[in-house]
């Protein structure tokens, strides 16, 4: 299309103003509000015992969920792409379920299975293990919601690289384990890296599913996003500044993630 200068400028204006009002301005305001009472006040809010333990809990959940999902994701992607048949087709549909089901429903589902009166809940509680309203349930919720990222990033790369090299390796006498480590993994590594970044972002920031299965006790089951939620719903004593401070802390973490995404994205295109 040969767009006139005026149309080009107005389209650009519309797009930029939309992004400004929707994305940039709100995020900027939170930064401003965090520091409106000075840096030391904000710093005090993110270094309270509750905030520090929330940060550790968030990191712990990502540390458990992301490696498990990475191993599963690579395995599932290989099954999806390299094996045909009913099992793979079924898996293909199921992989997307965590994206399509509301996080609240995930929380409800875990409660129904592992809660006090749930399917397996009575067995666990008779053995003195608490899952719902405790950390294990929150880890399960986090794994659930961040499950598909690695699969969905790795599968297209696997399709793209084809399996000639793997077959060549096999003809030359490599075991399937050797083939995986020496041939498959090196060629899908950028896809894996991108999937890991996306699932880390989701694991650190998840609130919906975790909210349902957490008891919201500071120091025990409070993650950073839950801390934001809790401080926002408290009234008075400037706790809203605390919410902004915790939000800024999360935003800084996610800016690092965003930076990593931008760095990896072009390389991902190359391997595609």
């Amino acid at each position: 299309m040969l767009i006139s200068r005026r149309a080009r400028w107005s389209l650009r204006g519309v797009a930029l103003v939309y992004l400004l009002l929707l994305l940039l301005l709100p995020v900027a305001v939170v930064f401003v509000k965090t520091f409106e009472h000075g840096f030391s006040v904000a710093w005090a809010w993110v270094t309270t015992p509750a905030a520090i333990s929330a940060l550790w809990l968030s990191l712990l959940m990502a540390l458990i969920a992301v490696p498990l999902n990475t191993i599963f994701g690579i395995g599932a992607a290989i099954v999806l792409v390299r094996r045909r048949g009913r099992l793979a087709a079924l898996l293909d549909v199921m992989i997307d379920l965590p994206f399509l089901v509301s996080p609240v429903i995930v929380g409800l589902a875990l409660t129904l299975v592992y809660g006090e009166t749930g399917w397996f809940g009575s067995w666990f509680s008779s053995h003195g293990i608490r899952i719902i309203f405790a950390v294990p349930g929150m880890v399960l919720a986090t794994i659930f919601v961040s499950l598909p990222f690695v699969v969905r990033e790795v599968a297209p790369v696997l399709v793209e690289i084809g399996d000639e090299q793997e077959q060549a390796a096999a003809t030359l006498g490599a075991s399937s384990w050797q083939t995986f480590w020496r041939v498959t993994l090196p060629s899908i590594r950028w896809g894996v890296a991108y999937g890991v970044i996306l699932s880390t972002a989701r694991a650190l920031g998840e609130i919906g599913a975790v909210l349902v299965v957490s008891s919201l006790v500071a120091g025990q089951t409070l993650t950073l996003p839950l801390l934001v939620y809790q401080r926002d719903s408290q009234i008075g004593s400037g706790s809203i500044t605390g919410a902004y401070a915790a939000a800024t802390e999360l935003a800084v973490i996610s800016l690092v993630v965003l930076l990593a995404m931008t760095l990896f994205a072009p390389r991902r295109q190359e391997t595609k």
Binding site: L22, V29, T111, G118, L147, V228, L250, A251, S254, L255
Partner: protein, 241 residues
């Protein structure tokens, strides 16, 4: 496969079982009581609006990012991924800070239906943009130039040449945005106030120990999501994140 069943399938099966383990009439009453109906209505309306506005604005943004040249374009391009990277509760809080009580620009939308729409547009922004962008990049400009040399107006070229090429990408992006909107809670939990949307009602049901009602409403949402999934497969769009 076993991993998948333990983490995903068994819990979801429990919801479905809970939802259908009651008599049809009690399922019907828990889905059609005024509160649930209203929540479903608002959720559906907000999701459809999000998909529509998101489709139009997402296409505009993608077009500007691909065809336009201006300083800072790479920064804007990176910015598009922000809603994926930013935890949703932070997204909610940022909108509360800008459009809530004590708004620095004097716009008060918090705790209204309008803010729900804004929040949904925020979290679903990347879907349409990131799905249209690559198609637009690979689109052959020669067809457009040929149309122009044959005397077609810009509007005609857009309608007859550009739009048909982009349509699958726009539709699959909008479908993803719709599916995400139906179940969204993180960005909304701080800002909805008394506006009842489906995911908040489910959450409240769980909190007040009414899992049966929660499971019934969840079942409706799950069926809705599956419909969208099937529709998406029809359109042929790849399911991105």
């Amino acid at each position: 496969m076993l991993w998948m069943s333990v983490i995903v399938l068994i819990p979801l099966a429990a919801v479905v079982a809970k939802g259908v383990s009651q008599s049809p009439s009690s399922f019907w009453t828990s889905v059609t009581n005024p509160l649930a109906l209203k929540a479903l209505g608002i959720t559906l309306a907000a999701s459809i609006l999000t998909a529509l506005v998101g489709a139009v604005m997402g296409t505009v943004v993608a077009w500007v990012l691909v065809r336009d040249q201006f300083p800072g374009k790479r920064f804007i391009n990176a910015l598009i991924d922000l809603p994926f990277a930013l935890p949703t509760v932070v997204a909610g809080l940022t909108l509360l800070a800008l459009y809530g009580p004590g708004s620095p620009i004097g716009v008060h939308l918090a705790y209204t239906r309008a803010i729900v729409l804004v929040a949904l547009l925020f979290v679903t922004l990347p879907f349409v943009v990131r799905s249209v962008q690559p198609v637009l990049l690979e689109l052959n400009k020669e067809a457009e130039e040929a149309a122009a040399s044959l005397g077609a107006s810009n509007a005609t070229i857009f309608r007859r040449v550009v739009l048909p090429a982009l349509r699958p990408a726009i539709l699959s992006g909008a479908a993803l945005a719709f599916a995400r909107s139906v179940g969204e809670i993180g960005s909304l939990v701080l800002i909805v106030g008394k506006v009842q949307i489906a995911s908040i009602v489910i959450f409240a049901d769980v909190e007040s120990d009414a899992p049966q009602a929660a499971a019934s409403l969840s079942l409706v949402l799950i069926v809705l999501s599956l419909l969208v999934l099937v529709l998406m497969r029809r359109v042929g769009g790849r399911v991105a994140h």
